[in-house]
């Protein structure tokens, strides 16, 4: 698989470490009521779809940026690559 890095262009997927579902960006609030329930869900449960999946890849042997790769788990085709930073900010993080 070739991941088209938004800053570096096409890179071999071997340069990356795979983390899993991109929902991991949305870390629950540890101070909230019932935080343990939210964290159980966050840490252990997955949608695991057959088809389009948004997932986190870390460019460990490259620029060490985290990417959100949208990939089809049935065909392995990659349809979109974003910087995880941008995705997190668009979701209201770091503001």
């Amino acid at each position: 698989m070739i991941i088209d890095h938004p800053l570096l262009g096409p890179c071999d997927a071997q340069e990356f470490v795979y983390k899993g579902d991109a929902r991991l960006i949305d870390r629950p609030d540890g101070m909230a009521e019932e935080a343990h329930v939210a964290f159980f869900d966050y840490a252990y449960l997955r949608d695991n779809p057959a088809g389009v999946h948004r997932e986190l890849w870390f460019h460990e042997q490259g620029d060490r940026s985290w990417l959100v790769v949208t990939r089809n788990t049935v065909t392995h085709a990659i349809v979109q690559v974003e910087l995880a930073r941008d995705v997190a900010r668009a979701g209201g993080r770091g503001t």
Binding site: Y18, G20, F40, D41, A43, L45, V74, H76
Partner: protein, 416 residues
């Protein structure tokens, strides 16, 4: 029809006209006491033990394709019970004991071959870990033996003992481990279940559960609705997709694992060798092909085929351990989709839906578990209580912090 040497002789002399199909192809009935979803090793074994051990005869196995087309026919056929943790080792040892009597039990030649499995040691830390594991195995009634390099050299003289990075410093052997002909396991269980009245229904995909006031009353399938007193799901790599029909999200990711077979060679490998440090393991089939594999590809996949980097990695691991492999031609390679759980251990449990039961999360190691998994799932379905060796395989262990994490890797399925 019972299979025996006498039968083979008789058929040989009468033109092989007396053989009958090993199982029927019945049309689905409107209702069964127990419906098993998934005709892999685990689903078929469950049906077999339900009928044989728990006297349940109104049972159907629903398989979306053909039986044995999933992981049970795609794995590298290794059986062993060399686990460390309390929750696992008694279960896998129960499974190994069932393998030892399986062929007589279901009257089918599954080519169970206890040729032994050897995990190689390369460092002091690894030796400490393996000694501890061997002791845990012995405490649970399994066999384990620590071998010196000299002992290994006698059985595997062609290994590269002096690799600069991973010299062989010893090994942990389990002599009762070995290999089994995987398709024959599916066929043997199918035949045994069919003979005891179980309907095995192929080309029948489950597309939903009918749930009324919190109780599962049957399944929607590509061949219409089938009513059921209880439904047991054992669909391995498809676990998340199927359980989503019951509104469940599982502690599971589906990943692809590849396997490789070489051209046939004269006998060279007496047993199974694993080179964990180099991501490579290998055995030799009775046909002579070297059967080998390595790590999972490491990303979510339902593709039943992997990518080139892992093929390269496996080949490099193989060459480092076993330089003679370079002369051997690769015949085939393929992939299977595995239900990788969050702690690397399986689940055999009820669900929040009354009458709906789940068996999955087998990762890359569920073939060896087939007999015990079938037995324990049948036990749960028939008696509504977990089998004593499977009490730890609960859904709520993640919530309660009671993970069974052999490698101590945490909630990261591609590291187990």
């Amino acid at each position: 029809m019972r299979y025996s040497g006498f039968r083979v002789l008789k058929e040989a002399l009468t033109g092989h006209k007396g053989w009958k199909p090993a199982w029927r192809a019945p049309a689905p009935k409107p209702h069964y006491d127990i419906v098993i979803v998934g005709g892999g090793g685990h689903g078929l074994a469950t049906a077999y033990y339900l009928a044989r051990q728990f006297r349940q005869h109104k049972v159907a196995v629903l398989e979306k394709g053909w039986i044995g087309g999933g992981n049970v026919g795609r794995n590298t056929t290794i059986i062993r019970s060399n686990y460390l943790l309390e929750g696992n080792e008694p279960f896998y040892e129960f499974s190994l004991k069932l393998w030892e009597g399986l062929e007589q039990d279901f009257n089918y030649n599954a080519m169970v071959s206890q040729r032994g499995i050897l995990n190689l040691i390369h460092t002091d830390a690894q030796r400490d870990a393996f000694v501890r594991r061997g002791n845990a195995m012995i405490l649970n009634g399994a066999d384990a033996e620590l071998l010196s390099p000299a002992q290994i050299r006698r059985e595997y003289p062609f290994l590269n003992f002096n690799d600069a990075r991973f010299p062989i410093k010893g090994g942990l052997a389990q002599r009762r481990g070995g290999t089994v002909r995987h398709d024959a396991v599916a066929w043997g269980y199918a035949r045994g279940a069919d003979q005891r009245g179980v309907d095995i229904i192929q080309n029948c995909e489950v597309t939903g559960f009918r749930i009324e006031t919190g109780t599962c009353v049957g399944v929607e399938t590509s061949r219409g609705f089938i009513g059921a007193g209880k439904v047991g799901v054992a669909v391995a790599g498809s676990s998340s997709r199927v359980m989503a029909h019951a509104g469940m999200r599982l502690p599971i990711e589906s990943h692809v694992l590849q396997a490789f077979v070489s051209e046939g060679l004269k006998p060279v490998l007496p047993g199974v060798i694993t080179f964990g440090a180099g991501h490579f393991y290998c055995s030799q089939s009775d046909k002579g092909g070297l059967v080998f594999g390595g790590d999972i590809d490491g990303y979510n996949s339902y593709a039943q085929r992997g990518n080139l980097p892992v093929i390269e990695d496996v080949a490099e691991g193989g060459m480092a351990l076993f330089p003679g492999l370079g002369r051997v031609r690769l015949l085939r390679l393929w992939g299977g989709i595995m239900d990788m759980s969050m702690d690397g251990s399986p689940i055999i449990d009820r669900t929040h839906v009354c009458g709906l039961y789940f068996n999955g999360g087998w990762c890359y190691g569920g073939f060896k578990a087939t007999p015990a998994s079938g037995w324990c799932f049948a036990h749960l379905l028939a008696t509504d209580t977990p089998h004593p060796t499977a009490t730890a395989y609960r859904f709520d262990r993640f919530e309660r912090g009671r993970m069974i994490d052999e490698k101590g890797m945490g909630a990261q399925p591609n590291l187990h």
